[in-house]
Amino acid sequence: MRIRKRASGSAATPAVLSLLLVILVAVTVYVFASGAYAPPPAITSVGHAIDHQYDLTLAVVATVFILSQLGLAFAIFRFRDHGQKAHYTRGNNTMEVVWTTATVILFVGLGLMGRKAWAEMRFTEAAPGAIPVEVTENQFVFNFRYPGPDGKFGRLDAKQISASTGNPLGIDQNDAAGKDDIVVPTLTVPVNHEVQLMIRSQDVIHNFFVRELRLQQDATPGMVVPLHFTADTIGQYEIVCTQLCGLGHSRMHSYLNVVSDADYAAFLKQQEAAAQ
């Protein structure tokens, strides 16, 4: 019985466990607050709206996290067995009602507030006049197609797909609209112009993700998913595939170049010349 008494009477175990929980809270809060691992600044207005919603969620989550972990730490130390008698209670209905109502308001309210940014990016179409770019993904490359001077995409024909002969998208050679289409491995767009992407895949499911755009979308075969954005900062950003697509998944990579109007005009001119 000596052993049993020492095990349940010692304050060391609850003290260490409580301390660990306090350290957990302190370190987690410190790293989040330091911003050391924050994502890069957003370059779209939707991106800022998402960041705002993220911050709001972080405030709620941090509050609940800190209170519940510290509450746990406190209970562990305060109510350790030091010879007292446990307080007999089966619960408290008022408290159940209060914390149920509070969490419904907090969690569901947060979810409803998240609608704004999501609606802005997904419930609306691009405005007329947005620059259309078709994004086609296959194992393990991105291809970006611009309609060329005629403003029309050529018809696609899966039978004519041949990466080795320079027609990776299978643009129908008999369709005049396709003659001037521009196909490039990186995405170039002008700053402060809305762009309408049409995202598709030829083989398995891929993804299009640019962190600075706060935009991520699966490329699912059989579907063409529209996605629009307006980038407000000139620069080069990385495009990655985040959907497991096969053995070359982690090598599937491209760039988004956000350029000035003049540079965009030059880019188009150069590509059109090359396409002739």
Binding site: A7, S8, T13, L17, L24, V31, A36, Y37, P39, Q53, T57, V64, F65, S68, Q69, L72, A75, I76, F79, D81, A86, Y88, T89, R90, G91, M95, W99, T100, T103, F107, V108, L110, G111, G114, K116, W118, M121, R122, N138, Q139, A158, I161, Q202, D203, V204, F209, R214, T220, P221, G222, V225, E238, T242, Q243, L244, L247, H249, S250, R251, H253
Partner: protein, 589 residues
């Protein structure tokens, strides 16, 4: 007691004779206790394999160019890494997190806790185990077939998984074995679920009303209902996928697929259909893994706080609510899949709502501790760890549940951190709590307490050291399922964090040897356990350790009170077992 009606209406049986042969007693046994131990040992084997696979993954992420003696070609290739990802996930989710809490402890303790002599359908129970075992053989065999293990992840998204080896190594035979394994597993789990539900409804002892059932039984019951509704859907999906691969159908394959410049002869199917079917199973699966753990946590917290569970009814209702809502949130895995954004928003709000019963459980766990007389035995330490990990892992879900924010975090290590904490590590802590708690009952011997505590400290600190920094990696853009981060510029700065996590994983993994040693050493050399070493109240503690073949030695208990009557004012002892008649309860002097 309908099952007894056809045997003459009597509720008292003669003690059952134990089968004498080794095979009938230990291999093809119909005794739920033996089957429970079989499930447990299967899960133990699976978890060792699963952990080794994860260690290899962590190793590769930090030292990709190291030469490994057992890898063909010396260095691990991208596809070998992806095969590890796939097999680790599959083995852990199905054969550990589903098998141990439900098949193992549920099988062993559900009948005893409700005062039944066995499951309702003992032979079906045996069949469930052996089909699960066959499924396990199939998944392990996937490593050894031509082309090796599949690389499409535990989610097996089509078309990657639907077209055969043209989409990648492992997508031939390996993927077929994977589908066969999952389908068998679903079949076995369906049978098991039926058995659990029938047993709980029909075989409860006199006086064991629903609101007197231990919360563990509530956890297993609702888990069984989830399994009944979810596994059938995955089974159907698995069969359709198999047909797509081998019979030329196109359930999940659209027209115009071109792989390596070769056009595929499929048309009319939808890759999103697979995702819907998979996640209609996959999300309830998360709760299948965690609900039994919640039950165990409640049970153990109450026992070692020497207090009734705070808000028992609220806890039981919360388990049911989680089970119910669990079927309405699967679309949150598909926000960015191309599914309608309006559906996405609906799924988002429902997902936020499922946080409510989870929060209720957490508050009630704290309420249970509050005012208690907490004894820090090893099961209690793991139950407390469960609460902390469940809170940490659950809260990060509030970000992922919002489709707008998901644009930033989807498919990053943030998701990996989230589900590992909440359904991986927390569920494993539930399993450890259950093991340390029930080992004396199952094997009649005590485990070594100092070793158990050492195991707890390493595992608790280690789990946080692995998975807390992983959130930061995800936030900074670290993408999951990448065998090699070198192609992407922004990933380079995350490498030191990966090194830290890998070292933490190695230490935590090694610490599990303490558990294995303690488990097997105590089986043979642990001090003999009494009937009720923890002074607990539920029916399993009123019978021998281990219980006789029919659980109560020919006598069936009657139940007179709720499951957590600790520290009742006026009682002589601080616990009153469920089967003690009110007149027999000793009064304090």
């Amino acid at each position: 007691m309908s099952s007894h009606a056809h045997t003459g209406g009597s509720a008292v049986h003669a003690p059952m004779a134990e089968p004498s042969g080794f095979i009938r007693k230990y291999i093809f046994s119909v005794d739920h206790k033996v089957i429970g131990i079989q499930y447990f040992l299967l899960a133990l084997t699976a978890v060792v394999i699963g952990i080794v696979l994860s260690m290899l993954m962590r190793f590769h992420l930090v030292w990709p160019n190291a030469t490994l003696p057992f890898v063909s070609g010396g260095q691990m290739s991208q596809e070998q890494y992806l095969a590890l990802v796939t097999m680790h996930g599959t083995i852990m989710v199905f054969f550990v997190l589903t098998t141990a809490p439900q098949g193992g402890f549920g099988n062993y303790f559900l009948p005893i806790q409700i005062g039944a002599p066995d499951m309702a359908f003992p032979r079906l129970n045996m069949l469930s185990f052996w089909v699960t075992f066959l499924a396990f053989v199939c998944i392990v065999a996937a490593f050894f077939v031509p082309g090796g293990a599949p690389i499409s992840g535990w989610t097996g998204y089509t078309p990657l998984s639907g077209l055969g080896e043209i989409t990648g190594p492992g997508e031939g035979w390996g993927q077929t074995m994977w589908i066969a394994s999952i389908s068998l597993f679903c079949l076995a789990s369906l049978l098991g679920a039926l058995n659990f539900i029938a047993t709980t409804i029909d075989l409860r002892a006199p006086g064991m009303t629903l609101m007197r059932m231990p919360l563990t039984v509530w956890g297993w019951l609702v888990t069984a209902v989830l399994g009944l509704l979810a596994f059938g859907v995955l089974l159907a999906a698995g069969i359709l996928l198999l047909l797509d691969r081998s019979a030329g159908t196109s359930f999940f394959l659209p027209a115009g697929l071109v792989v390596n410049d070769q056009i595929q002869a499929h048309s009319g199917g939808s890759p999103l259909l697979w995702q819907h079917l998979f996640w209609f199973f996959g999300h309830p699966e998360v709760y299948i893994a965690i609900l039994p753990g919640m039950g165990v946590a409640s049970h153990v917290l109450s026992t070692f706080s020497r207090k009734p569970v705070f808000g028992y009814r609220a806890m039981a209702y919360a388990i049911c609510t989680i089970g119910f809502l669990g079927f309405m949130v699967w679309g949150h895995h598909m926000f960015l899949s191309g599914m309608s954004p309006y559906s996405g928003f609906t799924f988002s709000v429902l997902t936020m709502a499922i946080g409510v019963p989870s929060a209720i459980k957490t508050f009630n766990w704290l309420g249970t501790l509050w005012g208690g007389k907490i004894q820090f035995k090893s099961p209690m330490l793991f139950a407390l760890g469960f609460v902390s990990l469940f809170v940490s892992g659950g809260l990060s879900g509030l970000f992922l549940a919002q489709p707008a924010v998901d644009n930033l975090l989807h498919a990053t290590y943030y998701v990996v951190a989230h589900f590992h904490l909440v359904m991986g590590v927390a569920a494993i802590f539930g399993i450890f709590a259950a093991t340390y708690f029930w080992f004396p009952k199952m094997f009649g011997r005590m485990m070594n307490e100092p070793l158990a505590k050492l195991h707890f400290w390493f595992t608790f600190v280690g789990a946080y050291c692995i998975f807390m920094p992983m959130h930061f990696v995800g936030l900074a853009g670290g993408i999951r399922r990448y065998a090699d981060p070198s192609a992407v510029g922004f990933l380079a700065r995350l490498q030191p964090v990966h090194e830290f996590m890998t070292i933490a994983a190695f230490i935590t993994g090694a610490a599990q040897l303490i558990f294995l040693f303690n488990f097997f050493y105590s089986l043979k050399f642990g001090p003999k356990a009494t009937k009720n070493p923890w002074n607990a109240t539920t029916l399993e503690w009123t019978t021998d350790s281990p219980p006789p073949i029919d659980n109560f030695g020919g006598h069936y208990p009657s139940v007179y009170r709720g499951p957590y009557e600790f520290s009742v004012p006026g009682a002589a002892e601080d616990f009153i077992p469920q089967n003690i008649e009110p007149a027999q309860v000793a009064r304090a002097k």
